[in-house]
């Protein structure tokens, strides 16, 4: 009986993990199947580097360069905000805070990661965008700057939580040796602990990048949506994810526009897949933990 149960249990877990892999390959297969037909009619170079996105015109143009730039701008903006905040929080929790503070603050930060993105978007649209419009005397508040702030707040928990993990795995002996040599607490953090946790920290930043580049709801709601290369951070952009989300609902299935949206999905998938791969292989070697 026991061995029978044992076997059944093994089979169940095996099937469960098989399903997950199947889903992954199913998704990859279908985005490629739907997206690749575009390139029979549109040159890959024109698609990636063309800067006119007019998919529903009589002679449609499918250039996604402005969309790629839009995604990169808001993502870099988000990282500029999230890296200092996230890293600062991680150092505070791991190196400065007392035991009690540590036990409170880490779950609180992880709670921030659990807020649905549409709520961040609503907050940005209803409160932050009008405020930014007033503070900076702008025409509209839906722009790169606003989107970066909201995305930045969303990425902070990822960077903070993973960097904190990396910092706390730095051996105690290193810190003690540094102190014994006469280094202050601050010097120990800057010159010993952070460099020792470098891999984990960079890994967390890359994962944060992947999260920000793939975020859809927030950019759809606060980035404004103009498909062009912005001249300042106070102009609106149209990231790749917003294009897919906003346009998919009304396209004719099987149309060139439909294929183009899947082709954008391929580009997006490649970007996140490569960042995750690099992160896993180079920076977060599982065995080294």
């Amino acid at each position: 009986m026991n061995t029978y149960k044992e076997k059944a249990f093994r089979a169940l877990t095996y099937i469960a993990s098989l399903f997950v892999i199947l889903f992954l390959f199913g998704i990859i297969f279908s985005i490629f199947k739907e997206g690749l037909p575009l390139f029979k009619q549109v040159n890959i170079k024109d698609f990636l580097l063309g800067s006119a996105w007019y998919p529903t015109m009589a002679t449609p143009e499918f250039g996604i360069w402005t969309l790629i730039i839009g995604s990169l701008y808001v993502t870099l903006g988000a990282l500029i905000i999230a890296i200092p905040l996230g890293l600062g929080t991680a150092i505070y929790i791991s190196e400065v805070a007392g035991q009690r503070m540590k036990e409170i603050s880490k779950p609180v930060i992880e709670l921030l990661a659990g807020i649905p993105s549409v709520i961040y978007g609503l907050f940005g649209m209803a409160f932050l965008a009008p405020a930014i419009r007033q503070w900076f005397g702008l025409q509209v508040g839906l722009n790169v700057f606003t989107a970066s702030i909201i995305l930045g707040i969303m990425v902070v928990p990822i960077i903070a939580s993973m960097s904190e993990d990396a910092l706390s795995t730095v051996p105690k002996a290193l810190r003690e040796a540094s102190s014994a040599l006469g280094a202050t607490h601050w010097e120990t953090i800057c010159k010993v602990v952070v460099p020792a946790a470098k891999r984990g920290i960079i890994g967390s930043i890359l994962l944060g990048f992947g999260r920000a580049v793939g975020e859809t709801m927030v950019v759809l709601m606060v980035a404004g949506g103009s498909a062009r290369i912005p001249h300042s951070i106070f102009e609106s952009v149209r990231p790749m994810t917003s294009s897919i989300a906003a346009e998919m609902g009304e396209t004719v299935v099987g149309d060139l526009h439909y294929a183009a949206l899947f082709a954008i999905a391929i580009v997006l998938f490649m970007i996140t897949f490569l960042t995750n791969l690099v992160t896993e292989l180079v920076f977060l070697k599982r065995s080294a933990r």
Binding site: A52, Y54, P55, T56, M57, A58, T66, M125, A126, A129, P130, R133, Q139, V140, G141, L142, L220, M221, G224, G225, S226, A227, R228, E235, S236, R238, S242, A245, A246, E247, M248, G249, E250, T251, V252, V253, G254, D255, H257
Partner: protein, 269 residues
Amino acid sequence: MKYTLIILSLILIATSPLIAAKKNQLTLTGSTTVLPIAQAAAEAFMDKYDVNVSVRGGGSGVGVAALMNKTVDIANSSRPMKAKEITIAKSSGVNPTAYAIANDGITIVVNTKNTVKNLTIKDLKGIYTGKITNWNQIGGLNMPITVISRDVSSGTFEVFNEKVLSGSKVIDSAMMLASNNAVASTVGDTPGAIGYIGLGYVTEKTKIVNVENCIPSIQTIKSGEYKLSRKLYMYTNGPAKGNTAGYLNFIFSPEGQKIVEEQGFISVK
């Protein structure tokens, strides 16, 4: 093991009404513009008859695709089906039949601080293609124009594109927002903004501009005098029968058309 069995049977009991009720089930999918009408009509219809009506959004394209796949009874669409879609549908044995259930006017809105009262189609085209960039060029205050448009694949954009742009491109600095509400709230917050929304979405925060000296109103839209108007459709596979016909008849009844008006649209009767 015992618990799993109990949970499984509970799930079965909980979902059985769904399975059992399938006979009297009516499903609608499609345009988010038609959604409020379809939803309100469904609620009133369900109060009267023993039919379970479920309404989903997704967009006109999604509705039409669902009709082709025979997964819905009615596809809601804010535009007539395209020739290509009809061809695809026919090749898979679906015969789309259109029912125009409501009239909708696309209203041009500006910020309440704006002094401009009337715009011609030519002005609108100039603004949306980037030839007119300041309100003082068309008799307003000295204030740069912030052009707000809808996503190029929304049904609302398609009508605007057809009636105003006549094939020209919207300037690339125009903000493309994803919903009527987003346009209304952005125009309400932005002094120099101009946008277009369905008549049902006009709020106190925005000001309606006349087009070609014609106020968007029930009379002017019904008569076709107001230029920026369109019809909203429900598509069925072949002429409606059974519950589908019952639901459509309800929408065409005086009570149903009253719901259309309550939702901010204009009746077809």
